[in-house]
Symmetry: C2
Subunit: 413 residues, 2 copies
């Protein structure tokens, strides 16, 4: 039995205990984890320096993801404390009724059980994932990127010690302490013990995991996000929302990738948006109609409509009203986040009903689709799956439910 | 392109329309389906007689499942009408809040999209599945058992005509009109168009489907259901609940299969239960301690604790209090339905918290775990999966949700 199977088995035992633990005890464990992290800050930073020194040649972007500096460290501590303070999702009564027979029926939120997180370089996922999983009463098995193994081991050890101090099983949090890909392959086979896998990383990592396991995988694929600017949109609002959607952070999944503009929009509206984007250094790739209005626009190719750029590039298409916009989104969208900018409630309602995406926005930046701006607190990712959890995945989404029926001897006729 | 792929593509187009249809229109379609069924009753019964005549040598049990008699026919009509009258699950606001920024955030129930049902002999699944799927705004692709193809084709055609009369796309309901296994294999590959597969049938069918597709499968496996009789249980209630759990219908997934009795229980309690079961013709297979109290009991083997008999056999074990019961259930249960019979609220609460099953009952028959007795109306099955839907699967469980955020130009800082 390899290390991954051993850990999966121990996690299942820990989950059985966690199911019975009080909310106060889980919150205390999260606070103690934050304290423990603060107490071993030097050790964390030292391990991280070792990781970076041993990682060989690094791109600046990769080095940034791998680095735990003062800011990242404080953020990790804060996320644990925030998770402790969030409302407890376990035991929430989702619905309840008393049947004519007198049987009292309740649907109650309970932990999923054992969650495996498989992720890449960022060491803060180690604490973020543990915080959200534990908040919902789950045991977690972590497999981070090889390059951050030393950092992750210090973080995991601190969290395990804190768990024990709070009266939880140490195996509530486990980290696979290896850089061996065979351990991941073994982990994917533990469908008897692991209830859910959440991969964090590039599309190829997620796809490989989803295809290599019978365990349910909560997938987080592309964000090919759209804004549709209706002809009646307020010019200032449209400019501000589009620029913020695209430029606030180009490298994230809820950044705008394709802008759709009603072909009935005024030249002022089209040109104002285009100018503002260009002033922010955005490369515009447009359909012929857009290019004919906007100087300096590059003609878009077919590939552009299916591209998640994650950079300062935006594809722009003039469409035949809301129907044209909805058709384009149905064909090219990834079901992540799509918005409309309009002053018409009727148009907004039509868009919201027809567009089948995890988040549908009206007059708001796509960058607001996420746990924090939806009031969910800590999240472990944004699901592009349709089942179980859609959009931001926080503590409530890491619960399932059970039915509890309490009677006084009720029988079936 | 084979028939299954053609149908899957058409179902996806139909789902896009269904998403925008009003609850009244969907209810009308279900009522019209019931009317249409009544109008073509003779045709249904004739097709069913043909199916039976052509099915060759049949076991009595199989023939019973295949047969649409007056009672089954009326039941099918009634289920469609009941589905029409149920509260509409689509558009339900699951949660809503206004963020400090003024952004109004809602989590709204929406249809899953396209659901494929793969099932065995019973023709009533054709109408039941269509009723529940359509109630939640989904398009459904049906693949029934080969033996009932003629019956199913008449039923499906009637439902398609009714859909069109109510203004829905005909392809809201499609039946694969073949007995070719290759069509099922092709259906399982349509992950681009089908969002969920629900198999109904034996464990081997479900397992083969789950292992043969990348589409999510809502599984309905064994019901190895337990009752634990605590030492403080009321004798009459214990006798009645245990007998009903076992005997009301032995052939169903929520029938009792293993009885656990606290070894501290009085001989009167143990013997009263045993006698009542024996009087109902139940073969008792007991542990040594139980056999020493109850004459005529057959010694249980290890296999008995993992058996779903679906017949008049019951395994019985004396256990070391509630801890012994919970340990046995954790090791041998299937997570379907498990109950406790006790007069202690504290024991009941401990059992409910610790036992990780889709349904956990207190002082009630296991036969009550199901859609009807939980007030859910029509269901398409009972899920033993942990994610998305657990326990009875009704219209609400065939919905997913989307996030809708309405603003007035909100940006991310």
């Amino acid at each position: 039995m390899g290390i991954a199977e051993q850990m999966a088995r121990r996690a299942k035992d820990a989950a059985q205990v966690l199911r019975t633990v009080t909310p106060a005890c889980r919150a205390e464990a999260l606070n103690k984890m934050a304290d423990k992290l603060i107490a071993c800050k030097d050790e964390v930073l030292r391990a991280n320096a070792d990781d970076i020194a041993n990682a060989g040649e690094l791109t600046p972007a990769f080095k940034k993801r791998l680095t735990v500096d003062e800011k990242v460290f404080n953020y990790m501590v804060k996320r644990l404390q925030e998770a402790a303070a969030l409302p407890d999702p376990v035991g929430r009564i989702i619905e309840a009724r008393t049947m004519p027979s007198g049987l009292q029926v309740k649907r109650v939120a309970v932990p999923i059980g054992v969650i495996a997180m498989i992720y890449e370089a960022r060491p803060n996922v180690t604490t973020d994932a543990a915080a959200v999983a534990l908040k919902s009463g789950n045991a977690v098995v972590l497999k981070g990127g090889s390059e951050s193994l030393r950092t992750n081991m210090v973080l995991a050890q601190a969290m395990r010690e804190a768990a024990v101090e709070a009266g939880l099983p140490a195996d509530a949090v486990q980290l696979i302490p290896s850089t061996d890909r065979a351990d991941v392959a073994e982990l994917l086979k533990q469908d008897e013990f692991i209830d859910l896998i959440i991969p964090r990383g590039g599309k190829s990592l997620i796809k490989a995991i989803a295809e290599g396991t019978r365990i349910p995988v909560l997938k987080h694929y592309d964000g090919i996000c759209h804004q549709f600017v209706a002809a009646d949109a307020d010019v200032d609002m449209a400019v501000n929302v589009v620029v913020n959607s695209k430029c606030q952070n180009v490298a994230v999944c809820n950044a705008l990738e394709t802008l759709l503009i009603d072909s009935a929009a005024s030249d002022v509206l089209v040109k104002s948006i285009a100018r503002a984007l260009q002033e922010h250094g955005v490369e515009l790739r447009g359909c012929p109609a857009f290019c004919s209005i906007v100087p300096g626009c590059i003609p878009a190719t077919d590939d552009d409509w299916d591209s998640e750029y994650l950079s300062s590039i935006l594809s722009v298409k003039m469409v035949d009203g809301i129907r044209g916009a909805m058709k384009h989104i149905a064909e090219h969208g990834s079901g992540h986040t799509d918005g409309i900018i309009t002053s018409s409630d009727a148009l907004a309602a039509e868009f919201v009903t027809n567009v089948d995406s995890a988040s549908v926005l009206v007059n708001a930046s796509t960058r607001l689709s996420g746990g924090g701006d939806y009031g969910m607190g800590a999240v472990v990712g944004i699901s592009t799956d349709r089942l179980h959890a859609r959009g931001p995945v926080g503590p409530a989404e890491l619960c399932t439910y059970k039915w509890v029926a309490v009677g006084t001897g009720q029988l079936r006729d």
